[in-house]
């Protein structure tokens, strides 16, 4: 109900935030939108000594263009991502996935960077970040470094971030003109994904020229469905071809069984939902 006592600091620059984290040592937590951290604190599943709130750092919010990439501030809320015209145009897949995050209240509070740094395998923004080859820009005491999504997500709730580092922005290459769909499967609207499929394709006439597909909650990290991608490229965008390619969706996945889905069922869902995601994407 009531979190254990902690020190709270709300720096106004990234440098101050990094210093605060570095000073606090391993028992510090970064507070972004709070949609995952606050419940954990209130359940006393976590008891950090220091909470560093990024909410007052203006430079961490917003979406801008930088050449052939979009740069999305880590503290940009889901709501702001969802309605951003640059994201809609150049990273349609991310926009569609963000549409499905929880409910309007959560989307107004929760942040893109917070979701990625939390690295819940059932979170909806990890798979799009992986599919789009997003790059994570990380600030630490030694300066800034950039980590590709494929290396950023390391395990369940575990990323490349060191305890004294902060995810400051996400560089998403432009996928202008790509069609996209995020097919999410959960039991009630506000629940986490049991399985979801992020699919984006570039079609030339009726042929699939390029495809990028990543799966949510099919392993301890998001997974690229490379076998499906390979099977699709150069194929006509027909129901039969999509179904044949989607049959590869579970290859290389290692989902965790739970009360909502065992392994066999999750893998079957991945195949079915990949087919549906692709069918929706090619007609989007």
């Amino acid at each position: 109900v009531i979190p254990a006592a902690f020190e709270y600091t709300a720096p106004s620059t990234v440098d101050e935030a990094v210093r605060a984290l570095s000073d606090a040592g391993e028992d510090a937590k970064v507070l972004a939108g709070g949609q995952s951290l606050l419940p954990v604190l209130r359940l006393r599943l976590a008891a950090p000594t220091v909470v560093v709130d990024l909410g007052k750092i203006a430079e961490l919010r917003g979406v801008r263009e930088d050449g052939d990439a979009l740069v999305i501030g880590a503290m940009t809320t889901h709501y702001d991502v969802q309605r951003d015209h640059l994201v809609a145009e150049h990273a349609t897949l991310l926009a569609r996935a963000t549409d499905t995050v929880a409910d309007p209240q959560v989307r107004h509070r929760g942040t893109f960077g917070g979701s990625l740094a939390h690295a819940d395998p059932a979170g909806d923004l990890l798979a799009p970040a992986l599919a789009l080859d997003a790059e994570m820009v990380i600030a630490g005491t030694a300066g800034r470094r950039t980590v590709p999504a494929a290396e950023f997500f390391q395990d369940l709730f575990t990323t490349a971030l060191a305890p004294d580092e902060i995810l400051v922005e996400v560089r998403v290459p432009k996928f202008t003109g790509w069609r996209a769909h995020y097919e999410k499967f959960n039991r009630v609207a506000q629940a986490w994904s049991m399985v979801a499929v992020a699919a984006t394709v570039r079609t030339e006439r009726d042929t699939i020229a390029q495809a990028r597909i990543a799966l949510t909650n099919m392993a301890s990290t998001p997974v690229r469905a490379t076998a499906v991608e390979q099977a699709l490229v150069g194929q006509a965008a027909t129901v039969e071809n999509i179904r044949a390619a989607a049959a590869h969706a579970a290859e290389g996945t290692s989902p965790t069984p739970d009360g909502n889905a065992d392994v066999e069922y999750r893998q079957e869902l991945a195949r079915v939902l990949t087919g549906r995601a692709l069918s929706a994407a090619v007609t989007a």
Partner: protein, 816 residues
């Protein structure tokens, strides 16, 4: 005011409670703050079954701001045991249900110590600092396993995990013939069929919006208890009996209460502990639970295994019904725990003319949170079983399930009808409700679409589910409760006070917690006394004001409490008439009362009830020998239950590739008798449907194999929101109850009782042709998928890890 005034009863008025409830500008228990108030928090066992080896409270006591830490041993001389008002098992001594466990914990959530501190934060910190050593014992979680000879015993002093056995047999009762004989005969008869099924009523949690809260002030002459409860009057009496307090020294107040659904039909350990702590420390004490504490420790509902046998002739005529249940009590007995299945015992036969009926329930203890009332309390379980088995019988016979029902139900012209369970249904019209429902539903059209989808092997199959339900409301004729061994009657009380200015105060012994009694009672009294709706104030929930009552549950408030209001109003009018006659210098029999005015027949002379009220107040010119008061009381004890009924039709689309169930169309036609306010009844039906549908598709309290509740947050326990539920097509037929002057039956539980089997029947109807015989509730996507693809009916059931949600969050992870 004229005689042509529009009646209030029947008007779709928005609730007068809405402004304060919706804006939250009201008094809930948790926002009561008293000078010097202390905060109580509980230390709960994380282990389902263990001896308490040692409790070290020293570190907690040392925290500044902590006033006391009490263990079971510290409180044992005073804490007594929690009451069970209807133990069912007359001869046996119920196992002690101590507010704080003394030697042994029996479920994960049992209280082992309480902390009292100056503020809530310190109290929580101190809870974390109490160190308890447990010696773990083997757990027993499954009812069937609990009855095995070598099962670990929840209460070793009983020598068994079986608590009580209750049976009803129509041959023994003389209300019908022998079910066993009829079933045996049917098994021998080639022209008959016997269908047996095992149904599982999963455990669910009431999940009321406002968590429980109690504040106790011991500083006045009366000990004052505020509690978020459905039952302030029962709490007052039970607190006196449990703790040995003089009843007249206790005042209980249920301020605005944010929902209950039966979950607050309880006298709680925490209420008793707050009283004990406040008395010991001489200062006000507050306890408010968090959501997870509520899900863990407030009583749960349902949790039965039902073995149902139905016999019928091949022409569809039913010949016998047998219901044999196991009911999970959990670890202890609450106020009505063993009574819940008994409240359903007389409803399994439902609307059908079974000539033979047998019911039996065996109550079982397990190492889980105790169960008790949850919306419908026994009747949803009964309705589920009979409506499911009627569909199974229809499938066995190859007939339309609606036609099978029609062949067997009580015809409209057969009312009043005494059933095989011995109840007399006063009224009903199943034909009318069903005809209206099938029309709104387009039953024939959907059946055609279903056939067409089957034909082309559509991955999305359509199913139609039916529930032609009835229930018994209006708890209850006191003599019936007495026969069932209850510790109280079933009457209800009302008082009407006519103020000098002609305004009216109505005091009700019912205790609303979201239903809208203030609005409905005002409408009733406005018509009875001919006063404006706005001139009526309804008072409730404070035992100093409402001195007598039996509170709100079992859809009883209107059918019992509302009648008490009418009867009290009739007494007011009778008194006022005598005064009016005196003032008008006329004979009483020459007066007529209409629209709030007493008129001398055939003249333009008259007085209003407000004028009579003022004349009564002044009493200057008053009838000789008459007490100068118009006020009146009435305590109404119903002669019979009331029997709402209806026809619910559900069409589901079942995606055979993913197992997802989507409700395509839901039509319900409820017959709840006369309606006081159609907006309120519509709200009750909507909320009831949500809860019943949710049991069918979403909710389940799951324990892992060690007895840990894995659905302990609302991220893991799936309560649907509006977007997860369909648009409801609701309609009514109106067959008035003949057992009360308003003709009302009750509506609070109808939607919940009716909808669960309608949904599950629809799911099965969609996939039965694929070889699926049963799918356990909730019909989750995995369960439906596994039923279609593996022939398994209970995938992902109890013992499983929670799926996703906060249960999956690793505390060491990188939460941001």
């Amino acid at each position: 005011m004229t005689a042509t005034i529009e009646p209030e009863v029947g008007k779709a008025r928005a609730r007068k409670e809405d402004a304060r409830l919706i804006t939250g500008r009201t008094r809930w228990t948790d926002n009561i703050v008293l000078p010097g108030m202390l905060h109580l928090a509980t230390v709960r066992s994380p282990i389902a079954h263990a001896e308490i080896a040692h409790i070290d409270t020293s570190a907690a006591r040392d925290i500044p701001g902590v006033l006391a830490v009490y263990t079971g041993a510290d409180l044992d001389a005073e804490q007594s045991g929690m009451p069970c008002a209807m133990p069912v098992n007359g001869d046996a001594t119920a196992p002690r249900h101590a507010p704080v466990a003394v030697d042994k914990v029996c479920f994960a959530g049992d209280i082992v110590a309480i902390v009292i501190a100056r503020d809530a934060v310190t109290a929580e910190d101190a809870v974390a600092a109490v160190d308890v050593d447990y010696r773990e014992l083997p757990v027993v979680l499954d009812m069937e396993a609990a009855l095995a000879d070598d099962a670990p015993l929840v209460h070793p002093e009983l020598g068994t995990n079986k608590w009580a056995f209750f049976a009803f047999d129509s041959a023994e009762a003389g209300t019908g013939s022998s079910a066993d004989e009829a079933i045996a005969a049917a098994e021998r008869d080639p022209d008959s069929v016997v269908v047996k099924r095992r149904f599982r009523q999963q455990r669910v949690m009431p999940a009321f919006m406002e968590p429980r809260s109690v504040v106790v002030d011991p500083t006045g002459e009366q000990l004052t208890v505020w509690s978020s409860t459905q039952v302030p009057h029962i709490l007052k009496t039970m607190a006196a009996l449990t703790l040995g307090l003089p009843e007249h020294k206790i005042r209980v107040i249920a301020p605005d209460v944010g929902g209950g659904f039966g979950g607050k039909l309880q006298v709680t350990r925490e209420e008793m502990l707050a009283i004990l702590a406040a008395r010991r420390l001489g200062r006000p004490v507050k306890w408010t639970e968090g959501r997870s504490e509520s899900l863990l420790a407030a009583h749960h509902g349902r949790d039965q295994i039902q073995h149902i046998t139905i016999a019928a002739r091949r022409d569809g005529t039913v010949t016998a019904l047998k219901a044999e249940l196991l009911a999970d009590m959990g670890a202890y007995l609450g106020l009505f725990t063993p009574a819940i299945p008994v409240f359903g015992a007389f409803m399994y036969n439902a609307i059908y003319k079974f000539p033979a009926y047998h019911f039996a329930v065996t109550d079982v203890f397990t190492n889980k949170t105790f169960t008790d009332a949850y919306r419908g309390a026994g009747r949803p379980e009964a309705t589920f079983a009979v409506e499911r088995i009627m569909d199974e019988l229809a499938a066995e016979l190859g007939v339309d399930p609606l036609q099978l029902r029609e062949k067997n139900w009580i015809k409209h012209e057969e009312f009043p009808f005494t059933t095989v369970a011995g109840l007399t249904y006063d009224s009903g019209n199943y034909e009318a409700a069903t005809e209206k429902a099938t029309g709104l539903f387009d039953y024939d059209g959907l059946r055609r679409e279903q056939a067409e989808r089957r034909q082309r092997k559509d991955p999305v199959q359509l199913g139609i589910g039916i529930s032609t339900f009835t229930e018994m409301c209006g708890l209850a004729p006191s003599r019936v409760l007495g026969q069932l061994g209850a510790g109280a009657g079933g009457w209800e009380h009302a008082s009407i006070r006519v103020l000098p200015t002609g305004k009216v105060e109505v005091v009700t012994g019912t205790s609303p917690h979201g239903q809208g009694h203030e609005t409905a009672w005002s409408q009733i009294v406005a018509d009875q006394l001919g006063v404006p709706f706005e001139d009526v104030e309804v008072l409730h929930g404070d035992t100093q004001v409402s001195s007598k009552g039996l509170d709100t549950y079992g859809s009883r408030s209107l059918a019992v409490g509302g009648i008490a209001v009418v009867k009290a109003a009739e007494k007011v009018v009778a008194k006022a008439k005598r005064v009016a006659a005196h003032l008008l210098e006329a004979a009483e029999e020459d007066l007529e009362f209409s629209g709030g005015r007493f008129a001398v027949k055939g003249t333009d002379q008259g007085v209003t009830i407000q004028e009579v009220a003022l004349a009564t107040f002044t009493a200057h010119n008053f009838p000789e020998g008459m007490e100068p008061s118009l006020d009146a009381d009435y305590t109404f004890d119903p002669e019979n239950f009331s029997f709402p009924h209806g026809t619910h039709l559900c069409a589901t689309e079942v995606d055979t590739e993913t197992g997802r169930v989507t409700i395509r169309k839901y039509v319900c036609v409820d017959d709840i008798g006369a309606v006081i306010n159609p907006l309120l009844t519509e709200g009750q039906v909507h909320g009831g449907l949500a809860q019943g549908i949710s049991q069918a598709l979403f909710e389940e309290a799951v324990y892992d194999d060690s007895g840990t509740l894995t659905t302990g947050t609302l991220a893991d326990y799936l309560v649907p929101s509006a977007i997860d539920l369909p648009h409801y097509v609701t309609a009514r037929t109106e067959t008035r109850a003949t057992s009360n002057p308003l003709g009302v039956k009750g509506v609070g539980e109808a939607g919940t009782i009716a909808s669960t089997p309608a949904v599950v029947n629809a799911v099965l109807d969609a996939v039965r042709h694929l070889g699926v015989r049963d799918i356990e509730m909730p019909c989750s996507p995995m369960r439906v998928w596994a039923a279609v693809h593996r022939g398994q009916s209970d995938a992902g059931g109890p013992g499983a890890e929670a799926g996703g949600g906060l249960g999956s969050i690793d505390a060491s992870g990188g939460a941001q």
